[in-house]
Amino acid sequence: MKQLVSLQVNGERHELYVPVHKTLLEVLREELGLTGTKHGCELGECGACTVLVDGEPILSCLTLPVEVQGRDITTVEGLASQGVPHPLQVAFAELNAAQCGYCTPGMLMSAKALLDRTPDPSPDEVREALAGNLCRCTGYVKIVEAVRLAARRQQGDLGTVVDEIERALNEGVVREPGA
């Protein structure tokens, strides 16, 4: 069974004729060519496929496109505005919060939803918000730091990478080698 669906993705409307059993993840990647959203476990457990629907993070691998018609879908491709990367993207790059990068789009989307709701989250709030995004590379420390750096910059505090590392050392989030 195919169905006509109308999706609003990153501000653009798409009318598509898709099989009803294709997930939003498959439609984003295969029909719309938006391959930033990653295909991980497809079981709801890894968060690589996280997108925002009306600003809230959901898993595109567990969502049927027909169910999100008329709602505002944001993928990682919609994070930068007019070619300027989102502060989260800048902070992730500066702090090496992405290694292989596979978890990064999902992390960024969960983090964006967090910052939109909680502009200055504590490390625990960041960890809780990202608990559904698994990373096999970084060990998460850099990711938590990057989210907090982006948060402070968004609030107009132009923290530098050095500031952020010093603050992380002071808070005991990371330790100096041998300390």
Binding site: V20, E42, G44, G47, V53, E56, L64, V66, E67, A113
Partner: protein, 292 residues
Amino acid sequence: MKGFEYYAPETLDAAVEILARYGEGAYPVAGGTDLIPKMRYGHVAPQAVVNLKRIPGLNRITSLENGGLHVGALVTLTQLSREALVRERYPVVAHIAGKMASAQVRNLATVGGNLCNAAPSADLAPPLIALDAEALIVGPEGERRVPLEHFFTGPGATVLGPGELLTAVLLPPPQPHTRAMYIKHAHREALDIAIVGVAALVRLAPGTATCQGARIVLGAVAPTPIRAREAEALLEGAPLTEEHIAEAGRLAAQAARPIDDVRGSAWYRRKMVDVLTRRAIAGTRGEGGDLT
């Protein structure tokens, strides 16, 4: 995933009609967080999938005249955890709803889906049973109410007949001098299924430490969530002393009928029922633990 007929009815009557017409072959879908992975694995291959999210009113939480709460089946875990009425009247429910799965899953997953999926480990079941919640069911024959305690009939099985839907969970008004606690024991806090879950609810006689009423409900240690009635009976009318609490733990462990599986052995689960029952009861007195 195999193909299926997809329906998104806009009234309860239409949903019931479609479900009744297909019988066993039709599956309602709410958040899809249990159903879609099962379809992916090929555990189920529905002929028809009936999306319930277009039916108005099913996603609302409303206060009842008697001071209780009507929680629509399509209320998400996120809504349940944030709703002020739930946080004030039944903090034990709001607390676990905000801890289950992950933020992304909680935005999709619903109360009705958690209960109708009927996993023995479903985290909402023990606290809701402890609160004497009822299931509101609508089907071809009309509406009926079933105490949530009797809603589950086996792993993945409930009293719902062909064409029947869970429309809401009804919570009785909160009782004075009553506190409840649910402890979920799992390998990690997020994204994990309970190895054992224990809910304890204790009502004290005003100004005393004498228990007037108790519920001890166990998850993930029997084919369905179960009440440990011997443990409840022991506590009722008795002072909440260390000895009584320890005895209640032993009786709860005896009531458990756990199995060995990847998450834990039957032996371990039974031991943990004893430990967690004691902790949960003590927790309702505000002694240690994460009181809710």
